[in-house]
């Protein structure tokens, strides 16, 4: 370790975006000199190095230049300026099975692909059995690859790339293929690579993956490298950049319109016409003409350091505040709250009745607060849904009412931050 395996020096890449693509002579002549185009800098002066034996992840949003960078490292694209110096044999997995010839058998493709990765026939001969075994193709190895299932196809592609004994492995989001078992096998192989002191450079959309296997990570944003550091740090930077960019993950405290009931109640039985009311109408038990006695005015999430950073750390306390407006006195009001995971599944559901709060609401504004202590959640943006029930039915419902984000500075991954520690069990010394 110590010497540099991949040295990216001031790499910039400019793409010309033509508004229309003229590839025929006639069109080029007609539009000569004034072919409208914009310059798009997919990479701007990116410099970093990857030490031998290091695993470096590349994080970034779609279009931030991740794949362009990998293509420059692999040599598929030439940088507009700057250079990449790669020391040792490089195997690039930009797309699994990219070099396959449909008409040839799996066996022939292994040799063809191997030679594309710079192997001699003898070297492929030596690894052939390993490759077939890893790809789990068995007797299908002599069938034409055009008859392969997509799973077999990618397995063969991955098997060739990882068995060619590269010094540097470059992977572009191709690990999300195959069944779960094969994915695990791929990850095992990658970890074995790490143990063998090989260098890995890979792009991932999953901060969890970066956290669990990378030594360092590079964060790209709009073609610029905005940071490089330990994975936890890099993931934090990546998330913060997402938040700044106003992506969906942003924490939003929904400031609801001031209650529209002024008009709604004056109209008496008339159905509410404002958009605000219409959204909620579907969820109301009493139907459209039902006058809602109590309505949500505001839902907000807060936590100790909310003014300093737009996310929580696992184990911090989250307070969800539900403001409401009561139009007519109601007994037995129940506040319901759901927490949903980033993929939309319900993580937690409860209401004030279950939590032991019996509440009769007088006319006027008010608020309740839900306290989540030691929030045991990992990375992600979580949605909160809030509803108010009365004995006569659902009175109001906000979905999603607000959103909060959790960022994990540590290296564990998963959904739930289970409290966990590890220790060596002391052994009784065995008498000889």
């Amino acid at each position: 370790m110590g010497s540099v395996a991949v040295d990216v020096r001031g790499v910039s890449k400019r793409f010309r975006l033509y508004h229309e693509k003229y590839t025929s002579l006639k069109e080029k002549v007609i539009h000569i000199g004034r072919i409208p185009h914009e310059d798009l800098w997919a990479l701007q002066d990116v410099s970093f190095d990857v030490k031998e034996g290091e695993t470096v992840g590349i994080l970034g949003r779609n279009g931030s230049g991740k794949s362009t960078l990998l293509k420059c490292v692999c040599g598929v694209l030439q940088p507009s300026s700057g250079e990449v110096v790669v020391r040792g044999k490089l195997a690039g997995l930009l797309e699994l099975g990219a070099g396959f010839q449909q008409e040839l058998s799996g066996r022939e493709n292994i040799y063809l692909n191997g030679s594309m990765l710079g192997l001699s026939k003898r070297e492929v001969d030596r690894m052939f059995d390993d490759i077939v075994e890893f790809a789990e193709l068995g007797q299908f190895i002599d069938n034409q690859v055009k008859f392969y299932s997509s799973g077999m196809y990618v397995r063969l592609g991955f098997a060739v790339a990882v068995n060619v004994d590269p010094d540097v492995l470059v992977i572009d989001e191709v690990l999300a293929v195959g069944d779960e078992r094969f994915q695990r096998k791929c990850m095992d192989r990658i970890k074995q690579f790490q143990k063998e002191g090989r260098t890995i450079l890979f792009v991932s959309h999953s901060p969890d993956q970066v956290r669990s296997i990378c030594d360092r990570a590079v964060v790209l944003s709009d073609g610029q490298m905005i940071g490089m550091g330990p994975p936890g740090e890099a993931v934090r930077l990546f998330r913060e950049r997402l938040l700044e960019a106003g992506d969906v993950l942003a924490l939003r405290v929904e400031q609801l319109e001031p209650p529209a009931e002024a008009s709604a109640t004056e109209d008496g039985g008339a159905p509410g016409e404002t958009a605000d009311v219409q959204v909620a109408t579907g969820h109301l038990a009493g139907g459209a003409d039902h006058v809602r006695p109590i309505r949500i005015t505001e839902v907000s999430a807060s936590y100790p350091e909310a003014d300093r950073r737009p996310y929580l750390l696992p184990g911090e306390t989250l307070v969800v505040r539900v403001g409401y407006q009561v139009a007519e006195p109601t007994d037995n009001v129940i506040f319901q709250i759901d927490v949903r995971s980033p993929d939309g599944s319900a993580l937690f559901q409860t209401d004030s009745e279950i939590l032991g709060l019996q509440f009769d609401a007088p006319v006027g504004p008010g608020a309740v607060e839900f306290h989540f202590e030691d929030l045991p959640l990992f990375d992600g943006a979580y949605d909160i849904t809030v509803g108010i029930r009365t004995p006569r039915g659902m009175s109001d419902w906000r979905e999603p009412a607000c959103r909060f984000e959790v960022m994990n500075p540590g290296r564990s991954t998963g959904v739930v931050a289970l409290p966990c520690r590890v220790a060596v069990v002391p052994q009784e010394p065995v008498a000889p």
Partner: protein
């Protein structure tokens, strides 16, 4: 540049961990001094030639792939590469032997000796022109010297040349046409400039075609037809072209076509009827056979120097083609 090789391969110490799936002998030896590769906007021709040389095995595989794929689903397979020229020759024998008699003894051999070389040249250049576009998927995702694709097209044309040579040998025996044994060495002398010229044009057109798809059509017309008729393949230089050219002072222009001397070399060696030739057609008046010059009566050295000159020209074009290709290749992946 961190070039100093570590005293030990970095993974040498960790082989113990690594032996779960791979046998240690794969990991440990054979990973000697590591190659350093630079990806940048400017790489010299020397570097690219070195890269092409490194990938020569890939070249062989690509040629094999193309030939395999071509005959993959046909019953007779590779046999077709000999069967189709043989059948063509049979057709020519019938057509020129019975219907379009021109009096040249063994005209089929004359025709085929020129065609051999021409087919290699034109098939190579034509298929090389479209090869980068046709392999867009590969070019966008896999890194290798792109010139290899064009060279593979020339290479597979060379393989077909080989099969045609076998057919040619067969017909030479069948038609009792003895080649000039003492001049056989002129065949490679003519073949090498053809290969270099074909590679040069193939590389050039392949690159230009990525940006200007008209190239494909243009080359089909120019190389496929116009250039073919500019060479003395179907007609003979001395009998048909010489007087006309001399009359209009076009002889120099005619020989500016680099393929002409190469084709004539093949005709000289394989057809082997130099000097005055008795035609097989009778003069209307008497029993005497008409006589004519079909090939110029040049000594072997003239052919040699003419072919050497073509080689020089081809080498210059190849250099220029490499320069152009190098300039254009960097953006292939985004243009395709």
């Amino acid at each position: 540049m961190a070039l100093e090789a570590p005293a030990q391969p970095p993974d040498a110490g960790t082989i113990g961990n690594a032996s779960a799936l791979r046998t240690p002998d794969i990991v440990a030896p054979g990973r000697g001094p590591k190659t350093t590769r630079v990806v940048s906007a400017h790489s010299s021709i020397g570097q690219r030639l070195a890269a092409i040389w490194e990938s020569r095995e890939l070249l062989v595989y690509l040629v094999r792939t193309e030939i395999k794929v071509k005959y993959k689903n046909s019953f007779l397979g590779l046999l077709w590469s000999m069967l189709s020229p043989a059948l063509n020759l049979l057709v020519y024998t019938v057509v020129f032997g019975f219907f379009l008699k021109n009096g040249m003894p063994n005209f089929v051999i004359f025709l085929f000796s020129g065609l051999l070389l021409w087919n290699f040249f034109s098939l190579g250049v034509l298929s090389a022109t479209g090869v980068v576009v046709a392999n867009a998927g590969l070019v966008k995702k896999v890194s290798f010297p792109r010139e290899i694709l064009a060279l593979a097209a020339i290479g597979s044309a060379g393989v077909f040349l080989f099969f045609q040579v076998i057919v040619m040998a067969l017909f030479l025996v069948l038609l009792h046409n003895t080649p000039a044994w003492s001049l056989l060495w002129l065949l490679p002398v003519a073949f090498i400039p053809t290969a270099v010229l074909g590679s040069a044009l193939g590389i050039l057109f392949a690159a230009v075609n990525v940006y200007l798809r008209d190239t494909q059509h243009l080359v089909t017309v120019l190389v496929g037809s116009a250039w073919f008729w500019a060479c003395p393949i179907v007609y003979s230089y001395s009998e048909t072209a010489h007087n006309f050219l001399a009359l209009h002072h076009l002889t120099v222009l005619y020989f500016l076509n680099p393929v002409t001397p190469l084709v004539m070399t093949f005709e000289r060696v394989l057809w082997n009827h130099p000097g005055l030739v008795s035609l097989t057609t009778f003069l209307p008046t008497g029993k005497k056979h008409a006589q004519a010059f079909i090939l110029p009566s040049w000594p072997a050295t003239t052919y040699l120097w003419a072919d050497a000159a073509v080689f020089g020209v081809a080498a210059v074009i190849l250099f220029l083609a490499m320069v152009v290709f190098g300039r254009l290749a960097g953006n292939f992946a985004e243009e395709l």
